[in-house]
Amino acid sequence: MSAALQMPPAAPLMKLTDLSVTFQTRDRTVHAVNGVNMELAEGEVLCILGESGSGKSVTLRALMRLLPKFAKVTGGIEVAGQNVLAMNDRRMADFRGGEVAMIFQEPMTALDPVFTVGRQIAEVVQRHEGASRATAMARALELLELVQIPSAKRRLDAYPHELSGGLRQRAMIAVALACRPKLLLADEPTTALDATVQIQVLLLLRELQQRLGMGVIFVTHDLGVAGEIADRVAVMYAGRVVEEGPVGPFMAGPLHPYPQGLLNSTVHGNMRGKVLTTIPGAPPSLSSVPTSCSFSPRCALAEPACEAGVPAMVEAGGGRRGRCIKITAG
């Protein structure tokens, strides 16, 4: 929270300018991301919140150019002052795993099943830092200890299937951190884990983030996870950011009707016997770029003015902003 009160540093670690991603296939076109502007300061944790199809994972993947070839990406992506979209393949290969690393939801599919965990970490170090095999293995051991894997020395020679889900996720974090990235991208890394393991991994990520001073972009659909780890939250809906701001005030009361509905429909605390507030309807199909507020068909506060065009981002003060005509500028 304190990060939000400080003046933003001159050059953000990550900056998205009017990012749009369109998937074009023979049958149909999907406008997954429609003009996202986002910034991340160094050492900051930003949670992108949203439901399935909101474009949160696509935004994250665009940052590392991991989208398939038929995805059309426009706008600006800048990480540590470099234009990511202009990088050639060779530069891109250095960039991925070097300056930016990513952890995924399913460690079993993200890790290679035929190499030991130690080899997979050492490979990153050898590739990016040109270290010898022995040096790289020594570094792999350090990393396994860093992510608090018990009996790390023995686990170096373990294959991914020999580890439990929580340890596998820790091993994947170790691979991602191998070259001390400035920016860590996390795509729902705790969603597949059990409750008692999820909290361990969240606390580990928070500790590592603070110790290594990384910027982290954390994609999740879970408000609780955002509450545990985020400095700042950005809520996406139908490919746009509808609200953004420091996590504390956001959780206390969102500005935009969509996150308000999301917060109300999330079961938390003792809500027994109450009828849960729901958001009626379903998100739009995104076969064309929404030309008005894309939430208005489901919004209880909608009025004709909402159909007039895409609402502009309104600065509400305190670093908070939202895309709704009802938000008063502050």
Partner: protein, 349 residues
């Protein structure tokens, strides 16, 4: 098809389970011999009371889904007995309740809404399928399917002839619920029914389940790993760990006065939405152990902060804490040999 009727009166448990056991052999070696056994469900006993919602919580591998499959007899029991409203399940008709009759009264909703529907049948036909098998005519069965579609909030005129792939996840789960109700069951087993849904849709389906329970006089067994959802919907809660029941009791007792260290850890592991109340220390370290070789004595002792010698030596018995609240922990049993036995545990959640 006659409607399912109450037999034993309101005080008799709808389903009484004693010593439920299911072990899965792991085949291996040169001759495909059994090299190990997964003790998925190991001597589980509990009652499902009439008209209640019993929540079952636990982590992956604790046996909650296997328990669900045993309850609907998708898996056969290795040991144990099931008594449904006074009748032993799986006996010949003369002495008990035949499986076919049992299944008319007990239905299930699965987590994966797409995999559990036949992709080649319009949803109306999927719902009407079981009533036809159980003797309803084509037109009667279709009429019931349409009534049920309306009851779960899908307008029949618009949705009845659609195929599963033409529906969203939330709509498909509504169809699964309608199908589970098609035989007018008395007990519905819901195995993670909302886990795959987005939050706003989850709330819709939870509201629907509460409505339907009232409307059709149902009893629910609701299995989930989401403790907030279980607290919302359950009257009583059962906590499982490595194939065993560690605690069971009224929902408020479990959430306000959890007696088993595992229940306390589970509750404390819930992420806090308020950043002012962030966790600093994880309540538990490590993952749940493998159910192939569960620890001796108390199965939770390897992750428990209070474990002593007695926990390895002796399996805890369920201690009665009053009001139907039972916990299988040596600390809850006075005179068990544990140094903290009988002491009132401070609740730190």
């Amino acid at each position: 098809m006659e409607p399912n009727q109450d037999r034993g009166g309101p005080a008799q448990p709808l389903l009484a389970l004693r010593g439920l056991t299911k072990h899965f052999p792991i085949k291996g070696g040169l001759f495909g011999t059994t090299v190990a056994t997964v003790r998925a469900v190991d001597g589980v006993s509990f009652d499902v009371l009439k008209g209640e919602t019993l929540g079952i919580v636990g982590e992956s591998g604790c046996g909650k889904s296997t328990t669900a499959r045993l309850l609907v007899q998708l898996l056969g029991l290795d040991a144990g007995t099931m008594v449904f409203d006074g009748e032993a399940v799986g006996e010949p008709r003369a002495s008990g309740l035949a499986l076919r009759d049992y299944r008319r009264q007990v239905q299930m909703v699965f987590q994966d809404s797409y995999a559990s529907l036949n992709p080649r049948l319009p949803i109306e036909d999927s719902i009407a399928f079981a009533p036809k098998v159980h003797g309803l005519s084509e037109s009667e069965a279709n009429e019931r399917a349409r009534e049920l579609l309306a009851a779960v909030g899908l307008a029949p005129a618009q949705f009845a002839r659609r195929y599963p792939h033409e529906l969203s996840g939330g709509q498909r789960q509504r169809v699964n619920i309608a199908r589970a109700l098609a035989l007018q069951p008395r007990l519905v087993i819901l195995d993670e029914p909302v886990s795959a849904l987005d939050k706003s849709v989850e709330a819709q389906v939870l509201n629907l389940l509460v409505d339907l329970k009232q409307k059709f006089n149902l009893t629910f067994v609701f299995i989930s790993h989401d403790l907030n959802v279980v607290q919302f919907i359950s009257d009583r809660v059962l906590v499982m760990y490595l194939g065993e029941v560690v605690e069971i009791g009224p929902v408020d007792a479990i959430y306000d006065r959890p007696a088993h260290p595992y229940t306390r850890a589970l509750l404390a592991s819930r992420p806090s939405m308020d950043p002012a109340f962030r966790r600093t220390v994880p309540p538990l370290v490590g993952d749940p152990p493998n159910p192939v070789n569960p620890p001796s004595g108390c199965r939770f002792r390897t992750r428990c902060g209070f474990a002593e010698d007695v926990c390895a030596a002796k399996k805890p018995v369920a201690a009665d804490l009053g009001d139907g609240h039972l916990a299988a922990c040596h600390m809850a049993t006075p005179g068990s040999g544990h140094s903290k036995a009988g002491a009132i545990m401070e609740v730190a959640i």
